[in-house]
Amino acid sequence: MERRSSSNPPAEPGDAELVARARKGDRAAFDGLVARHQDRVFTMAYRMLGHREEALDACQEVFLAAYRSLGAFEEKARFTTWLYRVTVNRCRDELRKRGFVKHTRPASLDATPDGTALEPPADPSADPARAAESRERDEHVARAIAALPEESRAVLVLRDVQGLAYDEIAAVLAVPVGTVRSRLFRARAQLRGALAPMLGRSA
């Protein structure tokens, strides 16, 4: 019988192992955590802040803060959840610095709250015309998301962009699941109004 184990690649260490090693000062382990989670952290920051450069800066701060605060991470929690929490908090700080926290801000499709345009990357493999159309649609959606109140935006991004379950979102935001549900509904309802021209009459 063939021994398959010898040809299997070594299993990648889990987050918990990397965290444990990073806590002991293993920078390579932390670098592994960064590599593993940077896309989701960046996406979260980008959708929250609506600006790539600011999102990049925020991501750096998130990972540095996470590094410094690894001792605060409770091992029973999921590292991803904890990292999302750090990210959301960082983004909130950034938004507050800008003075953007307006819980009743109406949706605006013209620009992000700071007037800068979102810059989703183009898909080079697509047909140019369709790519342009797709990009326009994505920009439209992204601007509508960026115009949501911060609380609703965080829930919407965590759910519909990051794919977290309600209870995970509740853990990230430290709010009850019912609050997640209602905020998510409000976000979708507001988006529905903002995207109605694009989505057709049904929306």
């Binding site: 002991k24 000062g25 920078r27 932390f30 670098d31 960064v34 590599a35 940077q38 896309d39 952290v41 960046f42 996406t43 980008y46 990049l56 991501c59 750096q60 990972f63 540095l64 803060a65 590094y67 410094r68 605060s69 690894l70 001792g71 605060a72 409770e74 929490r85 750090v86 908090n89 700080d93 507050r96 989703p120 990357p121 898909d123 649609r137 994505d138 959606v141 992204a142 998301i145 919407l156 759910r159 519909d160 962009v161 379950a165 309600y166 430290a174 549900r181 209602s182 998510l184 509904f185 979708r188 309802a189 988006l191 529905r192 995207l195 694009m198 989505l199 057709g200 049904s202 929306a203």
Partner: protein, 373 residues
Amino acid sequence: MNPIDDALREELSALLDGALEEPRASELRARLAREPELSAEYEALEAVVRAVRALPPERAPAELRAAVRERLPRSRIVPMGLVAVAALAAALLVAVLLRPGEEAPVGGRELASGGAGRGAGTDAPKDADRPRTGVGPNSAVPPDLRAPVGTGRVADDVAEESEHSVGLEGKAAEQQASLRVEEVRDRLDTPEARKAYFARLRALSGEEVRAHLGRFDPPAAKAEVSARMRGAAPSPLEAVVPGVDEAQEIRQILLIAFPPPSKEEVVRRDVETTSVELAPEGWGRLDLHVAAATDWAPHIGAWLQTVSVAAPPAPPKPDAGPAAGGGTPAEAAKAKEPGVRLGSAKRTVPPLEIRILFPAPPPPPSTDPSGGR
């Protein structure tokens, strides 16, 4: 047919995510099958969700990882925020080990001054009953801390301390027990330095320390430890982590992670109360660590008001008079109440100077009548 209101739409939204509980989900699905208007609402929400989920996945810029890696060394890898940790732990350690009039233990003094060596404890005088002036509120606590906004507990605490305090006295005590965070930060900024620091703590908890601590009667099996912070903005990272075993002697770590301070959100609050087991043979060691991200360590000095140790009173001794219990009969009676405080650390001089006051231990049995006054 029920009207479609926001409550119903919220349920539709949850149904869309599979997050609506049964049997309500089944009821709603049945209604969707027979009510076109409701079904249109559902489809509209579904279209919104589909549009959001169709957004292309974002990739982190290539420079992110390198930028983080490059900045890590400057961010002081201090798992537990050892800067502030070290300052408080060392200050508390010094205080626990000190007796009235004693020189500071070498380990504690080392940390502040950079000296080497260990173990001055065994040479310490045993005059536990020499006159104690205490370091009460009137001599040390800045006026703005005497009447804090909120509970006013600080002032009450200090009043107790003035009667019960031992261990550190006057200016000399302040000098010995105070560690400036800058000094500690410089010393604990590398893994080697931290390793040496904890090794020193372990060394200090050896026999010579036990010789000190053995002179204290066990006041209680359990003490309540709390840190009172002022101006610490709320943070979801706050946590209490008991039983951290980074060093064997660390029994308790109060871990407080601070977000960047935000002027408009600074609030007064009490945080972090927990319990710690005391060694059955005596006081044992109680290293109280307040941890924070190192970038914010300087702020702790401004935020920290008290670190206190409290415990139920020891069983009354047959010969324990008001002097041993601490002050007037009324105060002695108060000391018998559950939860009486046994000591505290208090910020006295910014940026981070902690003074620890512990209660007077019962006088040890002595055959030398001149040994205590």
